[in-house]
Symmetry: C2
Subunit: 196 residues, 2 copies
Amino acid sequence: MRSDHTENRSDQIHVTLPPWVGEVIAGREIFPTLEDRMRLAIALSRENVVRKTGGPFGAAVFERDSGRLVAVGVNGVTRHNNCTLHGEMVAFMMAQARLGNFSLGAPGMPAHELVTSCEPCAMCLGAILWSGVVRVVCGAARQDASELKFEEGPVFPESYRYLEERGIEILHRVLRGEARAVLELYRAQGGAIYNG
Amino acid sequence: MRSDHTENRSDQIHVTLPPWVGEVIAGREIFPTLEDRMRLAIALSRENVVRKTGGPFGAAVFERDSGRLVAVGVNGVTRHNNCTLHGEMVAFMMAQARLGNFSLGAPGMPAHELVTSCEPCAMCLGAILWSGVVRVVCGAARQDASELKFEEGPVFPESYRYLEERGIEILHRVLRGEARAVLELYRAQGGAIYNG
């Protein structure tokens, strides 16, 4: 099971998006409404299942006010052998690389938001705090994921309060039914429940 | 501030270790005691400050029983413009790439542990759960980091309990004084407190 990186202590990690992502975005640059933005996140999550490139989770970073798409992410845990590559994490990495800053809330930037097809796990919730976004929009609920045996980790009501107290607005259950349907599709396909 | 990736929706993220890492490891493969392992994590954190390659945090993944070093990580947030690249996250990524698996607890593997120069933030604590390690060894305390205005995020006593209930052993404050001294060195050098 060892990769060919075994001998090299100066490993490079490469994180990519699957090649089909451009088809889903279809050249669109502006996503005016919350529902438009969530539909993109859900479409990414669905395509990740259909193309068998990872878990049933998609996310995107937008400029909150203009709706301009900055970057997208899909779950890449199995494809990259990397437990940290949840959809939200990949979206943050790609957005920050594109903007050349480790914070999406740096001085002079427009306000950014994360739109995610499912409420974040403990890791992604922590990353939201470091990412610099000012709003998070969630589709499926934690309960929907846990019914599928996807663990969400130590996320408590006070975890969300902690973010809100620091000025991050959080919207839950936007197009929840459509988002949840992708989780069910994944289960129906017999997709791997890693970290179950 | 935009990078030259702006035009490409299929961005690749590259995550590397700084070139000096090999000097700190110095060819050692086995680290018999907890203190040996923690001294490596602290040396990595210190060198990251001295060489100005990132925040004052280092980590390593070992085989718990043999003490064999699997991979190391140092904070790469500023170097890579990537808010997710805390030392623990980089160590997990590198270890999983090397072993060719998204879990360090996959069937047939020896038990793995994370040794980190400082108690993990909320993001890294979540990642610990997904990483597959069975033990976490911490140097400096959350309080030491927060006195330096490094935010740790929504980590509560029940967050640790959540991990322990799932079979992860957690040891705190191993060589805390030495680990804390690196945080103070960083402050004395005027290092950036990102996400403060």
